[in-house]
């Protein structure tokens, strides 16, 4: 691999920050350029619905230190939207007509929030950027009634932040239990009770019939009736920003299609993060919207461009923090309907873990407040150590010991 190639990252988010750090750590010597269309450099996106929404502090927000960038030949160009990648001339063409040399390109254009068609105005919010979060925070105040549409990770984090700021909160979702799609109904039910105890109101199991925004409020109508809120936060997922990829002639399906090494259909162009539909060695093609996945993919690309071809093959991992409760999931995208589910601990008391088993091997785990179980699960999955459901369910069995048994057997 030529040491002096120039790498351009399109998109200044978690992928960009993780990639430049990994590339430098692995000894990549060429110039690194990050192009972002927002006015700032990369920031901690998970904070936008947690710490940053709760309070305006910048502590820990920024992902790249300008001094580190200067010392490591990393150039950050903000406010620089990209038109397309021209692999034939090894360049990236900017929206303003300019062009910059790029031997290798990493597309990390992320996604944008799904909107409700025809519903807009000052009282309607989505959260993707720092500006979105800052605008919403001003509305989360005592005396205000905030509606949250969508009871997934983002919606429930917003609900927690909103009640924390003294606002009244009502959460709408067609699903009967919050978070159930993400972490299963058992943990979802327990976390829902936590929210209810903090005063969050739920309107679940009812489809939305209409949403009407006026100057005075937003009226959400379900089969159960109409509710009016001061502001509505729409948390119904994202769409991948594939425009640059399409204009660059890359193969695009549900996201930019990449192989296990995160290479697109053009060998000098990689893609990672929310925009990438990755051919995962374990699960097949998946586009996953978790920050750790973006960072792991970026780290793999960083190693590859530094001369050590690397695939991203770990089970997908994510976390969410709500109030003072920590929830994590590992490999949940790979669960099949006939996998055996085993609970450990007391999920209803927000202290336990759910495991999914297939043919005597662990395939996935989700936990409330027991991140250590997820650490062990990672090793059990990775090393394909056989485990029995009774062992996982038995609190008398230390999970660490299941790892030891592998050494004995080996």
């Amino acid at each position: 691999m030529t040491a002096e190639q120039t790498v351009v990252v399109v998109g200044a988010g978690h992928v960009a920050a993780a990639l430049v750090k990994a590339a430098r750590r692995r000894g990549f010597a060429g110039p690194l350029v990050i192009l972002g269309d927002e006015p700032t450099g990369p920031y901690q996106r998970p904070m936008l619905s947690k710490e940053r929404l709760a309070g305006a502090g910048e502590s820990g927000l920024w992902l790249l230190d300008p001094q580190w960038c200067a010392a490591n030949d990393v150039t950050l160009r903000t406010g620089s939207p990209v038109e397309r990648v021209d692999a034939a001339t090894s360049s990236v063409l900017l929206a303003d007509g300019g062009s910059i040399p790029a031997d290798l390109v990493v597309l990390a254009t992320g996604g944008r929030p799904r909107q409700l068609p025809g519903v807009e105005g000052d009282r309607i919010h989505t959260i993707r950027t720092l500006a979105d979060s800052d605008r919403l925070r001003e509305r989360l105040a005592p005396g205000r009634r905030i509606g949250v549409l969508g009871a997934g990770f983002l919606g429930t984090e917003v609900a927690a932040a909103a009640v924390g700021r003294g606002a009244e909160v009502v959460v709408f979702d067609v699903a009967p239990v919050i978070l159930a799609r993400g972490v299963g109904a058992d943990i979802g039910t327990a976390v829902q009770a936590l929210h209810a105890g903090k005063g969050v109101q739920f309107r679940l199991g009812q489809g939305i019939e209409s949403v009407r925004a006026t100057a005075d409020g937003v009226t959400v109508t379900t089969a159960a009736g109409a509710e009016t809120v001061d502001d509505l936060v729409v948390c119904i997922g994202i769409e991948p920003n594939t425009e640059v990829a399409v204009r660059s002639g890359l193969v695009v399906g549900n996201g930019v299609e990449v192989d296990a090494e995160c290479r697109t259909s053009v060998p000098t162009v990689f893609a990672a993060g929310d925009v990438a539909a990755h051919d995962h060695p374990r699960y097949g093609r998946l586009r996953v919207e978790h920050v750790d996945v973006a960072q792991q993919q970026a780290a793999a690309i960083g190693k590859t461009i530094a001369g050590r071809p690397t695939t991203f093959a770990d089970p997908h991992w994510f976390w969410t923090d709500q109030y003072d409760i920590n929830i994590q999931g590992l490999g949940l995208g790979g669960i099949r309907p006939d996998d055996r589910m085993v609970a450990r601990g007391d999920l209803s008391a927000l202290d336990g873990t759910v495991f999914w088993l297939r043919g005597g091997l662990l395939v996935a785990a989700a936990t409330v407040e027991r991140g250590e179980d997820v650490s062990v699960a990672r090793e059990l999955i990775d090393l394909e150590i056989p485990v029995r459901a009774e062992q996982l369910a038995d609190e008398g069995v230390e999970l660490d010991e299941l790892l030891d048994s592998e050494e004995v057997n080996a």
Binding site: A17, Q44, E58, S59, G60, D292, S375, R378, D400
Partner: protein
Amino acid sequence: MSEWVHVAELKELTRRKKKQVIVDGRPVALFLIDGEVFALDDVCVHKERFLTKGTILDGQVICPGHQWKFDPRSGRPEDQPGCQATWPVQVSDSGAVLVGTVPATPRESSGLEDTPDVAAAGSERP
């Protein structure tokens, strides 16, 4: 002036590879990794979870809270801000684990702590 405190026996670490001890009122995590004993602040610089409730993977300490990976020698998390304080360790011929009462390298705030007075040290806040 650093003094040495006898906090554990090496044999207490051989099975689980980790143990929380208290040094001068502060929770310190002992880890036995590839035959060497390391001592770090047990309270994670990110969200104040205990590292001793995590695991050791490929020679790194994995925090249970958010799976940050720490180098046990430097206390630095991979690709994340802040740093765990590291503490001097001695293991005697008889297998006594001694920890110094003054950190070898200081704790650096991640800026992400939930506890404001912890976060305030070394990070800007409006």
